[in-house]
């Protein structure tokens, strides 16, 4: 490399700068400058005086009322946010036949977005707008029971108008009619029901019999190959049932007992891990021999890998639902109600159920579903029969205080 000859027309500072850059720009960041910068940053943080200006306003008190002006008549459209893979899709993968039929009949254009992946995450996403009394840009959202209950409790969703929901009112199946968090379904209607059952991989079990949550927690042959769910209500609810308690009316002591029972499983290394939806791959690979699972997933898994199957414990199983809600300040409430009602017509409900395999909350669907898919119509996981319905239990709603305490306890169980 040739030595650079400084030009005498340059000022010393410029020369210094050029030298610096010639040293491969290395002097740009030195130990000293980093230390100095860190100290500066720490000092800046020391200026805590401005902090008291912040604060998070009370969630329940939405400024300016809950409803916005309803633009349904002028604007024939609706924004519908749903979970991924929770809607029928045609072969091209671009169109949703049931939604298209709705648009054709009513002229209401549906902007369908699959932007809900996780209840907690989605709550974090919409919380700032709803707390500030602003429009979320969504007219219809789908949330699981407990989060729907929380939103109703906080006053963040709009009361539905029964006049726009004749089919929904008539066809809603009995087991979903009156949850304790929304008596008479004033604010919400179920999109699909979810059953929590025990799934297993026949090959991985290798002859070990699993019939109950106790088997999962106690059988030494399954050590380290058992999974539970990160959804507190599913895991604790199934354990409560196994302990002979009713998840619809348990006490704090019962809850403690269930947590202690699970904790033993964690301490002994019986429970491999707590999973979200990712248990499906662990189960098909055989890393998990048996686990708590959502029945809709199992129906789909079974189709792909013949080793996977499920059982419903004698002690019963947990049913929850994902619910359609109209958030505050939504601009197209009437359109949203018409869409809800549309999915309670047996034909549309059957088409949807045939595609997504969850528990159909609509009565009278069976003959319609049988025409599309006879197997699905006879599957008790999709249309529960009497025996199945008798075993179904719901998790009771929790007060805000209980919810925080229980979630904290459960978080500790799962390793915090």
């Amino acid at each position: 490399m040739e030595q650079y000859e400084p030009d005498d027309r340059l000022s010393p500072a410029q020369v210094a700068a050029m030298r610096r850059s010639l040293r491969n720009g290395r002097a740009a960041l030195t130990r000293r400058s980093l230390l100095r910068a860190s100290a500066g940053g720490a000092l800046a943080l020391g200026g805590l005086g401005s902090l008291s200006a912040c604060g998070i306003p009370a969630a329940g008190k939405t400024a300016g009322g809950t409803s916005a002006e309803d633009h349904s008549a002028q604007e024939k459209k609706i924004a519908f946010s749903n979970w991924t893979e929770y809607m029928d899709v045609d072969d091209s993968g671009k169109h949703h036949p049931t939604l298209d039929a709705f648009t054709k009949r009513t002229g209401i254009k549906v902007t369908y977005t699959e932007d809900i992946n996780d209840n907690n995450e989605f709550f974090g996403k919409i919380k700032p707008q709803l707390a500030a009394g602003q429009d979320t840009g969504r007219d219809l959202i789908v949330l699981t029971d407990w989060l729907a209950a929380r939103l109703i409790r906080l006053g963040w969703v709009q009361k539905l108008d029964p006049a726009n929901l004749p089919h929904a009112f008539a066809n809603l199946s009995g087991q979903f009619r009156s949850p304790d968090w929304d008596p008479g379904r004033a604010y919400s209607y179920p999109w699909q029901g979810i059953s929590t059952v025990i799934a297993f991989n026949k090959k991985a079990l290798d002859g070990v019999e699993v019939t109950s949550v106790s088997d999962l927690l106690d059988n030494p042959k399954l050590k380290g190959r058992v999974g539970f769910l990160t959804e507190m209500r599913d895991t604790v609810g199934m354990t409560l049932l196994d302990l002979g308690k009713d998840p619809a009316s348990f006490t704090a002591d019962d809850y403690d007992a269930a947590i202690a029972r699970l904790q033993k499983g964690v301490d002994r290394g019986q429970i491999r891990r707590f999973t979200g939806n990712d248990y499906t791959s662990d189960l098909t690979k055989g890393d998990l021999a048996a686990c708590l699972a959502w029945a809709g997933d199992v129906v789909q898994l079974k189709a792909d890998s013949p080793d996977v199957d499920f059982i419903v414990p004698d002690s019963g199983y947990l049913t929850s639902s994902d619910n359609l809600l109209v958030p505050n300040k939504a601009r197209h409430k009437t359109n949203a109600e018409r869409l809800i009602d549309y999915y309670y017509e047996p034909q549309a409900a059957a088409e949807l159920a045939a595609y997504i395999n969850y528990v159909c909350p609509v009565d009278g669907v069976k003959p319609y579903l049988a025409k599309i898919d006879a197997d699905a119509a006879n599957n008790p996981l999709i249309i529960p029969d009497k025996a199945m319905q008798a075993k179904s239990h719901a998790f009771r709603s929790l007060s805000a205080k209980e919810e925080t305490a229980f979630e904290a306890q459960f978080a500790k169980l799962t390793g915090a």
């Binding site: 491969n24 912040c54 604060g55 998070i56 907690n120 290394g269 491999r272 990712d278 791959s281 915090a416």
Partner: protein
């Protein structure tokens, strides 16, 4: 650590020249700094202040949160979650050391021995980054599956008996154990180690090696006395770039770990999203930041190198 990306210190003022320089461009540097400063304020300073405020608030979702200067949150958080915090530091340190042990020979090879293969190997190092972090981590679940060839081989060689005895694995599996989490961290952050190391090594003048040889230094002595000291800037920045994100990571512990491998990032995520205890989550974030700042400061002071890049 946004401090790493901060602009270089301004030039030292010009020494008194005969004629004072023209003042026209006086504000130019500040205008040029403006976009960066705005970025820092909006995406770093303001969120920091907001988080700092949250950490000293009390209340609930229903009643709202108010600043009550409740500093006890910090003590309670530390008291409840010190095992996870300690574990994060240990896992991150282990991953950083593994990255260094794996990355240094590779960077050395690329810098001095690869010849015309240099670019190809560099691309191979960076290529995994073309897919998402999540996919790369999930791939490890397939690689380390219980019935997979890797675990089978380790079992046959009785390696897992040793690691089980050490408490790194449980029984005859690797997934859902500390070893899997550390492997995931090492894999995911390895390029952050290799790139600065390579930059440092590549700058070393080859004639220095020749000179060392002329002075009868054995290759090992050359490495110890010439190459390694000159690559210290790369070692330091590589370890920082690996250790800092690794200690706050929660994806690897979530996907490859179990209940007894949860790191501080997992706790913060759970507290923030699930338990809705925002003050504790914010306090833990600050504890993590302070701990990293302290450790990094100590490390940079001790490492004895002046240049960092």
């Amino acid at each position: 650590m946004s401090t790493l990306t901060e602009a270089p210190p301004p030039l030292t003022p010009a020494a008194p020249a005969k004629k004072p320089p023209r003042r026209r461009g006086r504000w130019t540097p500040y205008w040029l700094l403006l976009p960066g400063l705005l970025w820092l304020v909006v995406f770093f300073a303001l969120p920091m202040i907001y988080q700092a405020s949250t950490s000293v608030q009390t209340g609930s979702l229903e009643q709202g949160y108010k600043v009550t200067w409740h500093f006890a949150t910090y003590w309670n958080a530390l008291g409840d979650y010190w095992p996870q915090a300690l574990r994060s530091v240990l896992y991150a340190a282990a991953a950083t050391i593994l990255c260094l042990l794996l990355g240094y020979p590779l960077a050395y090879l690329i810098a001095f021995r690869a010849g015309r293969w240099r670019n190809l190997i560099m691309i191979l190092v960076i290529a995994p980054f073309f897919t998402s972090f999540l996919i790369r981590t999930l791939a490890w679940k397939t690689i380390l599956a219980d019935g997979g060839p890797v675990v089978g081989a380790l079992n046959t060689l009785h390696v897992l008996d040793v690691t089980d005895w050490l408490g790194w694995t449980a029984g005859d599996r690797v997934l859902a154990t500390p070893l899997a989490v550390v492997c995931g961290l090492t894999y995911n952050f390895l390029p952050f180690m290799i790139l600065p190391l390579y930059t440092s090594l590549e700058r070393i003048d080859g004639r220095l090696h020749e000179a060392a040889g002329d002075l009868y230094a054995r290759p090992s002595t050359t490495f110890r006395k010439v190459t390694f000291p000159l690559s210290m800037p790369g070692v330091v920045s590589g370890t920082l770039l690996t250790f800092i994100p690794a200690s706050g990571d929660y994806v690897n512990a979530e996907l490859l770990g179990s209940t007894d491998t949860r790191m501080i990032g997992n706790v913060i995520q759970t507290q923030f999203l699930r338990v809705l205890d925002y003050p504790t989550a914010a306090a833990l974030s600050f504890i993590l930041m302070a701990a990293i700042l302290l450790m990094v400061t100590f490390y940079i002071r001790r490492s004895g190198t002046e240049d960092l890049v």
